[in-house]
């Protein structure tokens, strides 16, 4: 169903939900994350392999109670300061962590998509991580090999960004497609924001197509991945990732920035306008 992002978030994202906004560097659903912040959701359990700026914003605005993740940083720049402040000082609210490896997170999503209770992999061997996370050992019934088992990810809501949808709500994304297909299929409900709604989807090499009947809400959000990128539409705003280091370092500067660019804007169009023309290059 094609509907405004505001309505999709109101209908599908509730306080206390387990929510996964996925995107592996490419097609990160920033516009949807901003709408979750505008609507003031609380006590969310957020899942993401690579929480970066939009998760720093959700955490810094107090939307999250728990984070399930495998790498939390500002890619190519450094730390996520709001994430660190929440973990190190409990500001603005304490953040519980469930930490995995990338391979474990990927297996957990794939298991969720396949309606299995756990993912299995040769992983989590040695080291201190197993003592601090949810992982167990299973024995292969055929060879006796011991393997790692991770509980499947089954988010209440999966949110991804894609290049295109058609008018029936079929979705197509291409380029680096990350773990988005698994996220949508593992989730009870799903929201997909798109750059463009077209009359007919033109097949693209290596694309992921999500049929309309596995997606609950398709929402038009041009430039909705900014400062991430959308292959074929616009490039990554690398300067923004660098600028986020300063914006996010200080609590007051962060809150002022969020007030001006997210809370005081009605939607992604106004958000982009508030940043000036550079973001639209």
């Amino acid at each position: 169903m094609i509907l405004p992002l505001r309505d999709a978030v109101r209908e599908h994202v509730h306080d206390g939900d387990v929510v996964a906004l996925e995107g592996f560097t490419h097609l990160i659903p920033h516009a949807a994350g901003h709408e979750v912040i505008r609507q003031g959701r609380r006590d969310l359990t957020l899942i993401r392999m690579t929480p970066d700026i939009v998760y720093d914003q959700l955490i810094g605005m107090g939307c999250a109670r728990k984070l399930v993740f495998s790498w939390g940083g500002n890619p190519g720049v450094g730390s996520l300061h709001r994430f660190r402040d929440a973990v190190e000082h409990g500001w603005p609210v304490p953040l519980e962590l469930e930490e995995h490896s990338h391979a474990g997170m990927a297996a957990a999503y794939a298991a969720g998509a396949a309606n299995l209770p756990f993912g299995v992999l040769r992983g989590y061997r040695g080291g201190d991580l197993p003592a601090h996370t949810r992982v167990a050992t299973v024995t292969c019934p055929f060879t006796g090999e011991e393997l790692a088992a991770v509980p499947a990810h089954r988010p209440d809501v999966g949110i991804v960004h894609a290049q295109q949808a058609d008018r029936a709500g079929n979705v197509q994304l291409w380029g680096i497609t990350g773990v988005q297909k698994e996220t949508v299929l593992a989730s009870t409900r799903s929201i997909v924001t798109v750059e463009e709604i077209v009359d007919e989807l033109e097949p693209r090499p290596g694309s992921v197509v999500l049929p309309y009947w596995v997606v609950d809400a398709v929402c038009l959000a041009p430039h909705g991945a900014h400062p991430s990128y959308a292959h074929g539409y616009y490039d990554r705003d690398n300067d923004f990732y660098v600028a986020w280091e300063e914006i996010s370092r200080d609590r007051d500067a962060f809150q002022a920035w969020m007030q001006k660019h997210v809370l005081a804007t009605a939607d992604s169009e106004e958000y982009l306008a508030s940043l000036g023309a550079r973001a639209l290059a």
Binding site: R84, L121, H231
Partner: protein
């Protein structure tokens, strides 16, 4: 620029590149590893295969990426696969020969910490975390570590063990080269202009020095030309 006519980063990248054989399949991260593998591709190892964990297999970037998921990687790749596939079919499938890892801390056995400084539950510094490292460290034959030398990084005891050092073959620092000998990282070479005492002083444990400790070959003019021609996207 150092007095040698090249920087410490350039020395690290060149030394890492030299260790890649032509045709090696490499799991690549951003920064120095990306620089090193692409340098190898442009010099002695044109058939080096670069796999970035975003799922780009056989990427041949013209401009070096700033992130592991830049569009440039997808556009120049032989194949783009999903993230579950890259870890399950390609890494766990034992199709990757070499990987580079970095960290905040390393110990004498090549174990790495990229998770926390201080206690896990109440960390002094919460680091980004292991990402792919735990499975990469055991899932490839040869792990190359690139890390700047300092007593804060080269520690007697890790605050947290993120990945195991079993397959670490070399640690390339800004001061020299460490390799495992008899189960412990040992200084086997220093870079041009570096005294043996410098890496020893910059290591938080009593660093073993090989009896035959040597000096790395400085970058050749050809290596430096190729290295400096690799421009990072967005930089002039």
């Amino acid at each position: 620029m150092s007095r040698n006519g090249f920087t410490a980063d350039e020395m690290m990248a060149v030394e890492a590149a030299r260790r890649l054989r032509d045709g090696a399949v490499c799991f690549v991260g951003i920064g120095l590893p990306s620089l090193a593998t692409n340098l190898a591709r442009h010099t002695h190892a044109p058939n080096c295969v670069l796999i970035y964990e975003s799922g780009t297999i056989g990427a041949k970037p013209v401009e070096l990426p700033l992130s592991i998921g830049d569009g440039e990687l997808a556009e120049t790749a032989d194949a783009v696969v999903s993230v579950p596939e890259v870890f399950a079919y390609w890494l766990q499938g034992r199709r990757i020969d070499v990987s580079f890892l970095g960290a905040a801390q390393i110990d004498r056995h090549g174990n790495l910490n990229s998770t926390v400084i201080g206690d896990y539950a109440v960390p002094k510094v919460r680091l980004p975390g292991g990402g792919g490292a735990p499975e990469i460290a055991l899932g490839v034959d040869d792990v190359f570590v690139m890390l700047r030398h300092s007593p804060r990084a080269f520690v007697e005891r890790l605050d947290f063990t993120t990945s195991l050092g079993d397959n670490v073959r070399v640690v390339i620092t800004d001061l020299g080269i460490l390799e495992p000998r008899d189960g412990e990282l040992t200084l086997v070479a220093v870079h041009p202009g570096v005294a043996v005492e410098e890496p020893v002083a910059a290591t938080g444990w009593a660093l073993r020095v090989a009896a035959d400790v040597g000096q790395t070959e400085p970058p050749t003019a050809q290596e430096l030309t190729a290295l400096r021609a690799l421009r990072t996207k967005g930089q002039d």
